[in-house]
């Protein structure tokens, strides 16, 4: 009886997931095993032809580039989010609320608008460049826009709030008396941060990484707007295959590749967390 009730409760969401996620994804993956002519018409019969194109040097370097940029984005985001969430959790309750709100408010405005805003900020005559040149960190010739730096900056900006949220929720549950215990046992403040705080919140560092890595790897709009000609990522290539080359099978293959690339770390992390939950109960 209880099982039936549970099933009924999950039924709507399951339907939604099935029809709007699993079915379309499968359609895309099926298309990957087809070929198309130059008009975009899908040809009958099955083929692995599109998969061969994955192994040319362009595709490989594109994949590596995408991974590199998204891992870099993830790394920087975590690097910012860990101390930020620690700080948020350790300050007063009212301030916590305000900081959390200030993190969320930008998300209320349009994603596109925010990215175009970055275009203005990073512009050769924009604020950041002017200030950096003035301080002397970069010279006049350095370009901040339409390259990988711009992509990473904007991706970090866009996705690191998603890393802060899980980290903050763990940090706010953290028992700060553990620091006192560690210091009491001879650890310095720094040492207790690295030997107590980081290991305890490690599971949510993994969660936070996924929260950044997945959207970053699939980024399309950001490289399209602030990236230059040579600065495309997998997402842009997929779009080009669809709209310029009229080749849905090749686009599908790239999508499949992207799914796999993202799925591997996700599975690794999920497995690790499953095997370590007993010790980190309450902190995951």
């Amino acid at each position: 009886m209880r099982r039936i009730k549970e099933a009924m409760l999950t039924f709507p969401s399951f339907c939604w997931l099935f029809f709007f996620f699993i079915v379309p994804a499968c359609l895309v993956y099926i298309l990957a095993f087809k070929t198309a002519d130059y008009t975009g018409k899908i040809l009958p019969g099955w083929s692995l032809e599109t998969f061969y194109s994955l192994f040319d040097s362009r595709s490989i370097s594109l994949t590596i580039r995408t991974m590199w940029l998204s891992i870099l984005t993830t790394g920087i985001s975590i690097f910012i989010a860990v101390p930020l969430s620690y700080y948020m959790a350790s300050c007063k309750k009212e301030l916590q609320q305000k900081l959390l709100l200030s993190l969320m408010i930008p998300l209320w405005s349009s994603f596109l608008v925010r990215i175009f805003a970055w275009k203005v900020v990073l512009h050769p005559e924009g604020l950041v460049k002017t200030v950096l040149v003035f301080i002397g960190i970069i010279d006049e010739q350095t370009i901040l826009l339409y390259n990988d730096i711009a992509i990473v900056i904007v991706m970090v900006y866009s996705y690191f709030p998603f890393a802060v949220l899980p980290l903050y929720s763990t940090a706010s549950k953290f028992d700060f008396q553990l620091f006192e215990a560690a210091m009491d046992l001879g650890a310095t403040k720094r040492k207790s941060f690295f030997s107590i705080y980081l290991p305890v919140i490690f599971p949510s560092i993994l969660t936070a990484s996924l929260m950044v890595l997945i959207p970053a790897a699939g980024a399309y709009v950001i490289p399209e707007i602030v990236g230059g000609n040579g600065a495309e990522m997998l997402g842009n290539t997929i779009v080009r295959r669809v709209f310029l080359d009229n080749n849905l099978p090749e686009a599908s293959t790239l999508s499949l590749l992207l799914s796999v690339v993202v799925l591997i770390p996700a599975i690794v992390i999920a497995t690790w967390k499953a095997s370590h939950t007993s010790q980190i109960k309450g902190y995951s």
Partner: protein, 393 residues
């Protein structure tokens, strides 16, 4: 040699609250020293000052003769057992105990040896590889003690270490603590709000009230000759009567004038002169109760009253006797049970009597002093276990 602790006129404020007010006392090396006080009296603050989590606004603290007032926690020769244990959730029991030695970069064979010794001391060998959330409260407590002791501190600080356990376990752990103290022989500084706990294990107790030390002494000193009405009320049960010193009788005795009472004779060890306001403290177990008028004795006081309440407790009975404006508690130890003797019961007219040496007088300064007495000792320690932490915030 075991290390002493010395507080020298230490004060500490949190906002407007005085958590420690000009506190001075000395802890003898190797002793089991308790700081006892009601919730929010600042006892945890004193411990945190010794541990180094807080620094005093004024005054100095010495451990083993060394001024540690401004030393950071990790440089002090003390270790703490926290009230909520504060075990590291990502480390096993064994790793928790080894933490301090790891930090000190001891070599691994030494660590293994020392940790094994500790596991044996706390009888947790079988649970060495469990995570903290897989063991019970009492076991966590023992791990917390081992984690502190393995570093061979000069002083072990215990912050209400057993208050989170249930009664039976509390008594067992208290005994174990005492055994461990005997075994390791270092100084224990024990914080508690529970007077029975403190009385049971301590060599010395400091009674703390509103950030001030009221009295330091051996358990029996505090019980038998409390220096203030607060100590008298906080340690054990007592009856307070408000009186005025009247005429002196013989050399060391005085008659007290108490409203509604005939003159009461009392040992006047404090040499108070006639006219001074006093509290007369009468411990319930020092009072006798009977239906018949007791034989006259020059040093006995006998008062007539009516029994208002009887609480039978097996080994003793507690009577509440109305005499004038007071309700005196009297405990009567049971002797042989005889069916034909009629026990004292409700509404009986009885005599309550005591020897003049069994009561003691405490100076009464002003109206606020009376308030101190109203802090009933029974209430403390039952349901206010978390109050102490609130006072720190």
């Amino acid at each position: 040699m075991a290390a002493s602790i010395h507080f020298e006129r230490v004060s500490k404020c949190f906002g407007s609250a005085m958590a420690a007010d000009n506190v001075s006392f000395q802890v003898t090396g190797g002793s089991f020293f308790s700081i006892l006080g009601p919730s929010g009296c600042g006892k945890t603050t004193l411990l945190r000052l010794v541990a180094g989590f807080d620094t005093p606004d004024q005054g100095r603290i010495f451990i083993d003769g060394q001024d540690v007032t401004h030393l950071p926690p990790h440089k002090r020769p003390v270790n703490t057992v926290f009230q909520n244990y504060a075990l590291f959730p990502h480390l096993t029991v064994r790793e928790n105990i080894a933490f301090g030695l790891r930090i000190a970069r001891k070599d691994s064979s030494h660590i293994v040896r020392e940790v094994d010794k500790m596991l044996e001391l706390i009888q947790m060998e079988a649970h060495a590889d469990k995570w903290p959330d897989q063991i019970s409260g009492g076991q966590k407590q023992r791990v917390a003690i081992a984690r502190a002791l393995v570093n061979k501190p000069k002083v072990l600080l215990l912050d209400e270490p057993i208050s989170a356990l249930d009664l039976k376990l509390r008594q067992k752990m208290l005994l174990e603590l005492d055994l461990i103290h005997d075994e390791v022989g270092i100084t224990f500084l024990y914080i508690t709000h529970d007077q029975t706990e403190a009385m049971a294990v301590s060599d010395q107790i400091a009674v703390l009230h509103r950030g001030k030390i009221e009295q330091v002494g051996r358990p029996c000193e505090l019980y038998e000759s409390p220096r203030s009405s607060f100590v008298a009320a906080f340690i054990g049960d007592t009856n307070f009567l408000d009186g005025t010193v009247d005429v002196s009788v013989e050399k060391d005795y005085s008659q007290l004038h108490i409203e509604d009472f005939p003159p009461v004779l009392c040992f006047n060890d404090k040499k108070l002169s006639p006219g001074e306001l006093v509290h007369l403290s009468l411990r319930p177990e020092k009072l006798r109760i009977s239906r018949e008028k007791p034989a006259d004795h020059p040093l006995h006081n006998a008062l007539k009253g009516v029994v208002e309440d009887v609480v039978y407790q097996g080994d003793h009975t507690k009577y509440w006797v109305r005499i004038g404006g007071y309700r005196l508690g009297v405990t009567q130890q049971h002797g042989r049970f005889l069916l034909d003797t009629q026990q004292i019961t409700w509404k009986d007219e009885v005599w309550v009597w005591w020897h003049a040496d069994d009561s003691y007088i405490l100076e009464r300064y002003d109206a606020s002093d009376e308030k101190l007495i109203e802090a009933p000792s029974e209430k403390v320690g039952e349901n206010e276990e978390n109050e102490e932490s609130k006072c720190e915030e």
